[in-house]
């Protein structure tokens, strides 16, 4: 398992479109992916409801953990997604 902590770049946080893009990527990655807010319990990153229920805002630190499959590549892609602003 690999994991990394990243600051969320989307100006509206991990809601709506960014949440959709992130969960889509997590669900299609072939790995088991979780996401956790600083100090929070990790939730299934392939679940859009679980992800938006975290109420993750712009600038929040989140930890992404990837287990199985092409771990490093999947992690890199997801971290890239999270740090990009999709609400321009």
């Amino acid at each position: 398992m690999v994991e990394r902590t990243v600051r969320v770049g989307s100006s509206h946080g991990l809601h709506a479109r960014p949440a959709k893009l992130f969960t889509q990527a997590a669900a299609s990655s072939g790995s088991t992916v979780t996401i956790a807010k600083a100090g929070g319990t990790p939730v299934n990153a392939a679940s859009i409801l679980a992800v938006i229920a975290q109420g993750i805002d712009h600038g929040d630190e989140v930890t992404v953990a990837v287990d199985g499959g092409d771990e490093q590549r999947v992690l890199d892609e997801l971290v890239e997604l999270l740090s990009t602003d999709h609400d321009e």
Binding site: H12, H15, A16, R17, A19, K20, T23, Q24, A27, V43, N44, A46, S47, I48, L49, A50, I52, A53, G55
Partner: protein, 561 residues
């Protein structure tokens, strides 16, 4: 088969009916007679079908709607949600009930988060309804999207429905409930969609029925004959020709000018109004500046907004109504105490007097904006009932540098003593919606008494006539700024009763302009007398139609078949 309702606007539409399915009742919580594994199969199958549908709709819609629909599709197959459903099925619930409960629990969680998340709660509700509908093998509720132009038949439309509606595909709207002031009616007016609201018998219309929606005659015709369809198509073409006709100043057939003005609620619509031939603004509502605000905006802020709006009409008349708060549009900083009868409470000028500093600031900002622009600014006060209130308002206007100060006539009281009021005020503008509500003692927001909310009623017309006469004697302009001015035939009647200008939604200008041009001043007065002499609203309209047919060389555009 013909159904009566209240037509919005003057249009006609022909097309196939698509019904909006109604919200499903909550699935009953009873033990399933199937085993949990079988129920899970059913639930998963329906979730997957709905997710597929939403994906397809998203691909078709494109743009921002696609993101919303794709997110909804993901919600339908969300692993956390599915786990929750499976847990509930293990307790022996039916698939319908388990799906309903699981969505509801996520929905409540999102709603509790408020703000943006709260809005997503409605998306979840929609997915939940679709899945339960699929399990029950009934049509999914919500706004339909058949992929071809259609006439939408619904009980009534909620704001969320209309936001999702593809207006490019909607030929017309028919609602079973809802009156002329319902959300559907307002939307139809704004977007110029042909609509008949409150047509109770339209409940019998089925998907695929061909209907004529005849707003001008308040009618919905089911299974029309080929002749009726041909006639409707002819009227649609005529109306299109009228809309494309060159824009000229409003005038009667004998050349008597009747300036046609626009009702606006913000500076945004100014350009479109001017393009459609508005000769100025007859009612500029200023509430938009104050709604969503906890305190009144500053003088500088207001002045910038007014300047922007006045700049769009150089050399033209712009009538601004000072803040009209209370009743259906309460503002926290003006209307703080709850009232039993807000329509009869501290609203309009009464509320402003109570908080005079707000009125003073607004008038100061308006006077400054007037000085900075070329428009001809008139200012009026809402909800005037007495001469004393009129004097209070006009004195304050003069003190603060407003050149033309008038009043709205919305209460029967103001109409009955218009002769006195117009000796103090520079002009009067009749707000027919409120004048009708107060004359008929019928709440304009209440569907159950919508039949009384009809400005054609001779009781209302007599009051208009009194104001018109007072204006003529005192040499003061009398405008109309309610929905009544947008009805082409009623507009002629109002002019016949003494109205000197008409203000309306810009979309109504072309029809009213064409109607005025068919009648001379003498005709208008004769038609008005016929309407005044009638005993009720329907009789007044019919009498006016008959009188109008006698005056014009061609019958007025909208004869009753």
């Amino acid at each position: 088969m013909e159904f009566r309702g209240t037509g919005i606007g003057q249009g006609v539409a022909v097309g196939p009916v698509v019904r909006m399915a109604e919200r499903l009742p909550e699935p009953v919580d009873r033990p399933s007679h199937l085993d949990p594994a079988r129920e899970e199969e059913r639930a998963r199958a329906s979730l997957s079908v709905v997710a597929g549908e939403l994906q397809r709709m998203g691909a078709q819609a494109g743009g921002a709607a696609q993101d919303v629909l794709e997110a909804q599709a993901m919600m339908a197959e969300d692993p956390t949600l599915v786990d929750d459903i499976v847990k509930r099925l293990a307790d022996g619930k039916t698939a319908e009930r388990a799906v309903f409960e699981a969505f509801a629990s996520f929905r409540d969680m999102l709603a509790a988060m408020g703000g943006y998340m709260g809005e997503r709660a409605a998306d979840l509700d929609d997915v939940s309804q679709r899945v339960v509908a699929h399990l029950l093998k009934v049509p999914a509720p919500g706004v339909p999207n058949p992929g071809h132009p259609f006439v939408l038949v619904a009980r009534d439309l909620a704001p969320a429905d209309t936001a999702l509606l593809d207006l490019g595909q909607v030929l017309g709207l028919v609602t079973i409930d809802g009156g002329p002031t319902s959300h559907t009616a307002i939307l139809a007016r704004e977007k110029s969609i042909v609509a008949v609201v409150g047509a109770a018998d339209a409940a019998t219309l089925a998907d695929g029925d061909t209907v004529i929606v005849d707003a001008a005659n308040d009618l919905v015709v089911q299974d029309p004959t080929p002749e009726q369809i041909a006639e409707a198509r002819e009227r649609i073409a005529e109306r299109a020709a009228r809309a494309a006709a060159p824009v000229t100043p409003g005038a009667l057939a004998d050349g008597t000018p009747v300036p046609l003005l626009a009702n606006l609620g913000s500076a945004d619509g100014a350009e479109e109004a001017a393009r459609l031939g508005a000769e100025g603004v007859g009612l500029f509502r200023t509430e938009f500046l104050f709604l969503d605000a906890n305190t009144a905006p500053s003088v500088t802020e207001q002045q910038a907004q007014y300047t922007r709006m006045l700049s769009a009409f150089p050399g033209r008349k712009v009538v601004v109504r000072v803040l009209d708060a209370g009743a259906d549009k309460p503002l926290s900083f003006l209307n703080d105490a709850p009232e039993e009868n807000p329509a009869l409470g501290l609203r309009g000028i009464r509320a402003l007097r109570h908080s005079e500093v707000i009125l003073r600031e607004q008038l100061t900002a308006l006077a400054a904006a007037d000085a900075a622009t070329e428009a001809d600014l008139w200012v009026m006060a809402p909800m005037i009932a007495t001469v004393e209130e009129t004097r209070y308002f006009t004195n304050l206007c003069r003190e603060l540098g407003i050149k033309v100060a008038g009043v709205m006539v919305e209460t029967p009281s103001a109409a009955l003593i218009a002769d006195h009021i117009l000796k103090v005020a520079d002009f009067a503008s009749i707000g027919t919606n409120d004048l009708t509500q107060y004359t008929m003692a019928a709440d304009r927001l209440l569907g159950t008494v919508a039949n009384l909310q009809d400005a054609w009623h001779p009781a209302v017309l007599r009051l208009v006539a009194q104001v018109g006469e007072a204006g003529r004697v005192d040499g003061r302009p009398v405008g109309i700024c309610g929905e009544a001015a947008a009805d082409p035939l009623l507009a002629v009647v109002l002019v016949g009763l003494g109205a000197t200008s008409l203000s309306m939604s810009p979309s109504a200008l072309a029809d009213v302009r064409a109607s005025l041009a068919r009648h001379t001043r003498e005709d208008a007065e004769r038609i008005a007398r016929a309407a005044l002499a009638a005993e009720g609203a329907a009789e007044a309209k019919q009498a006016a139609q008959e009188a109008a047919a006698a005056s014009a060389p061609t019958p007025t555009g909208t004869p009753v078949p």
